[in-house]
């Protein structure tokens, strides 16, 4: 069994609302797995089931080889969690919370704790009620990164961080991966997932719509082509697999399906190419297509 997380057909209902509707998710050991979806797609519900805080109504799920509901306490020795909306005890200082969480997880490395506090520029002597959202998130992140665990469950962990701190966060995740740890990173910030993740699962309305490496997913999508031509390329408009074609004098833009690329390049060459830019799809485009496709 090589998967840190394996879920099949996960169902969770709240009254009449179906939060998870047959979700599949596999996270291999040692990988950084992006868990993408719009707000309300079921990311947090999935993570809460993984943490044994909720029980799934249907489907099968294993976490680090165990049952996340039945073996919760045992499994929690081997994982750390950072919630998307961190609430802390207002009367405790950040340092006290970090040490409390560290102790119950079986101890922190004091050197790593000090190093992380410095890198995240967090003052551990402040009472938690005085922290901003970003600083509360840093408390949970320091506690998670300083603990000695196999799996990190991070639920939109950078939603309150500024860009500098996001960079620090990215370094920390890379370091964890180098140490051989598994990371499940839920996010709707695509650039973050794009730089950090080995594989991604995209979910929508409680179902997995796509799962694979970024390269796999790009398969499914279109290449952006921008060209400056010597003459008109009249054949292009009629080609199957060409979308959103706009012609502005000699400039031409379009989106091309992968299997239509050869034909498109042929048409362009016939017209005479002065300049040509092709760009792989960003995750944003990939994302948008999934949601638009499913919404329409």
């Amino acid at each position: 069994m090589n998967a840190a997380v394996h879920a099949e057909g996960l169902v969770k209902t709240f009254g009449r609302a179906r939060a998870l509707d047959g979700l599949d998710l596999t996270v291999d050991k040692g990988e950084v797995h992006g868990f993408l979806g719009p707000n309300g797609a079921g990311k947090t519900t999935t993570i809460r089931i993984l943490l044994g805080q909720m029980r799934a109504d249907g489907g099968r799920i294993t976490l680090l080889g165990g049952d996340p509901w039945r073996d919760a306490t045992e499994l929690h020795r081997r994982l750390a969690y950072v919630p998307g909306d961190v609430t802390l005890w207002p009367s405790l200082t950040g340092g006290e919370v970090i040490d409390l969480l560290g102790r119950v997880r079986g101890g922190l490395d004091p050197k790593r704790r000090a190093d992380l506090l410095e890198r995240f520029e967090l003052d551990p002597r402040k009472k938690c009620r005085a922290y901003s959202k970003g600083n509360r998130q840093k408390v949970a992140l320091v506690a998670a990164f300083a603990s000695d665990v196999e799996l990190l469950l991070l639920d939109e962990p950078t939603s309150g961080l500024d860009p500098l701190m996001e960079a620090v966060f990215n370094e920390c995740v890379v370091r964890e991966k180098q140490r051989g740890r598994t990371v499940l990173l839920s996010s709707h910030i695509l650039s973050e997932v794009e730089t950090l993740c080995d594989r991604v699962s995209i979910i929508r309305a409680g179902r997995t719509v796509e799962s694979g490496t970024l390269a796999d997913l790009r398969h499914l999508t279109r290449t952006s082509v921008t060209a400056e031509l010597a003459g008109p390329a009249n054949g292009l408009a009629g080609l199957p697999g060409v979308h959103d074609l706009t012609v502005d004098g000699a400039r031409l833009r379009c989106q091309v399906d992968q299997d239509a690329l050869t034909a498109v390049l042929g048409e362009l060459a016939r017209a005479g190419v002065r300049a040509l830019t092709t760009r792989p799809p960003t995750l944003e485009e990939l994302f948008l297509r999934h949601y638009q496709g499913a919404a329409s």
């Binding site: 943490l51 919760a72 929690h76 969690y81 207002p90 340092g95």
Partner: protein, 522 residues
């Protein structure tokens, strides 16, 4: 003040159940007490005898004050004046802090303030709704009183006196909500001020000096003398008090940042020593528990001091009769006194125990439990860490209360402390109800637990007026506690063991269900 009207609608929407329930129940109480007083003490001679007995009872004087007139109206105003002002004051404090400081602490105020909402609007909305609710319940109590045959003018004055008490503490809470960044501290400060005010009136009414009562809204609620000469001008004191404090609160609120307090937030240690769930629970409970222990210690000392010399002072025929009715012939007056007072105070201790028992739910609702439970801390261990304080806390408080009373009474420390501790199983039963509610219906746990305690209080109050008996009376666990100081002959073991068993069964069922259900955020 822009946006005040929208915020008023928000407050009404959030409290659309709580406000009507509180208003209707409180408004119905005076008429039912008036009609039962008329029924129980049919002629003036009976009422005079009852009034004389009550006035010779220092516990009654301290709790309810002086009887100005022994008519049906006068006795009703005496029975309820102080306690309705107390209940109204407490509810008003909780509501004002809930809609001002608590909103800031949770960050919801920020969201609203970014819209078209004036700086003063949240405070103005709270100070519009809460006093209006108090006035409404005061006015609604009038028709019922008039229907039982009491004069309309005096009934209106009585209703407004009760409303005045609630309004006064709404204004106190408006000030304390400006002082600290923590809603818990704001509530504690306001309730502390309320306790002080109540003590001023209690001291004035049970001792020789009368003037301290004029310093306290609880005093004013009685000094309007409804049905006993109607001093309408005393209502003016409420108006001035509320106006001054409200103006002060608005002035303070512009001197601070949103979510900030006037009292500074201090820094703390950079490193922690908390070890696990129980260490954390100890840290979270210790402040309120220490505060309650000091409070109940002082209260116990006050009770003990008032009981000194009672046995000789109160050797009147009336009180001997009363003592015989309550405690059997030959009962010592001081023992009857302690029994009566501890019955009431044990219900206050239950309130303190509920605060501890409901803290686990508070942690869950706020999302703080998520983080702790994602670590290797089991659900049961976490729930037990808080329950332990709801079990041991009231034991400590009752022991402190009884020991302080015994010490100040100058003798019988163990006897008085023992008789006070006898209420522990009854307190635990309410804690058990809270734990079961926490397991089954977490979102309603607080409402269910406090309602249960409120029902027991009302049942006990109505039982005093013989309005309930039998099965209904048996519902209240406090009824089953043996009065150890009085009937020493009967074995107290069976009822105490039975209550403990009920409490234990409720708690075990609650804990089992907590393990089986999903964590439920607010």
């Amino acid at each position: 003040m822009t946006g005040t009207w929208s915020l008023i609608r928000l407050v009404l929407r959030r409290d659309r159940v709580l406000l009507p329930v509180w208003i209707v129940i409180t408004a119905l109480l005076p008429a039912s007490i008036a009609s039962s007083t008329a029924g129980l003490y049919a002629d003036q001679a009976a009422r005079d005898a009852f009034a004389a007995a009550s006035m010779s009872n220092p516990a009654q004087l301290a709790m309810r004050g002086v009887i100005y007139d022994a008519g049906v109206g006068g006795l009703t105003a005496w029975t309820l004046g102080s306690s309705l002002a107390l209940i109204g004051g407490l509810v008003s404090v909780l509501l004002v802090v809930r809609h001002t400081r608590a909103e800031e602490e949770t960050g919801r105020r920020e969201l609203l303030s970014s819209g078209v909402v004036g700086r003063h609007a949240p405070l103005a909305a709270a100070l519009a709704v809460v006093p209006a609710a108090n006035l409404l319940l005061g006015l609604l109590s009038v028709p019922g009183l008039v229907a039982t045959g009491l004069p309309a003018g005096s009934s209106l004055l009585f209703g407004l006196s009760v409303a005045g008490g609630g309004c006064a503490f709404a204004a106190v809470a408006a000030v304390t909500a400006q002082l600290t960044a923590s809603s818990g501290t704001a509530r504690g400060l306001a309730i502390g001020v309320g306790g002080l005010m109540f003590a001023l009136r209690a001291v004035a009414d049970s001792g020789g000096v009368a003037w301290p009562a004029w310093l306290s809204p609880f005093g004013w609620a009685r000094l309007t003398r409804a049905y006993a000469g109607d001093q309408w001008w005393v209502l003016g004191l409420f108006v001035v008090f509320v106006a001054v404090l409200a103006a002060g609160a608005f002035a303070l609120s512009v001197r601070r940042d949103v979510a900030g307090g006037l009292l500074p937030t201090r820094q703390g240690p950079a490193e922690g020593t908390l070890r696990g769930a129980f260490g954390l629970a100890g840290r979270l409970h210790r402040g309120s528990l220490a505060g309650f222990a000091i409070g109940f210690g002082l209260l116990g000392a006050l009770v003990g001091l008032s009981a000194r010399g009672l046995d000789t002072q109160l050797d009147t025929p009336q009180f001997r009769d009363l003592a015989a009715v309550i405690g059997g012939s030959g009962a010592r007056v001081s023992d009857v006194f302690f029994t009566f007072v501890m019955y009431v105070l044990s219900q206050l201790v239950t309130g303190a125990a509920l605060v501890s028992a409901l803290r686990a739910r508070g942690e869950e609702a706020a999302g703080r439990a998520d983080l702790l439970l994602s670590a290797p801390v089991g659900r049961l261990r976490w729930a037990l860490s808080h329950l332990a304080f709801a079990v041991a806390g009231p034991a400590l408080l009752l022991a402190v209360l009884g020991a302080a009373a015994g010490l100040a009474y100058d003798g019988g420390v163990l006897r008085v402390a023992g008789a006070t501790l006898a209420y522990l199983p009854a307190v635990w039963t309410v804690v058990g109800i809270a734990t079961l509610a926490f397991g089954v219906l977490p979102r309603l746990a607080a409402a269910i637990s406090w309602t249960a305690l409120g029902v027991f209080l009302v049942v006990d109050l109505l039982a005093e007026f013989r309005l309930v008996s039998g099965v209904v009376l048996d519902m209240s666990p406090f009824v089953h506690v043996p009065a150890l100081l009085l009937d020493g002959a009967a074995s107290p073991v069976a009822p105490l063991a039975a209550l403990t068993a009920v409490a234990g069964a409720l708690a075990v069922a609650g804990l089992a269900l907590v393990r089986r259900r999903d964590l439920t955020p607010a």
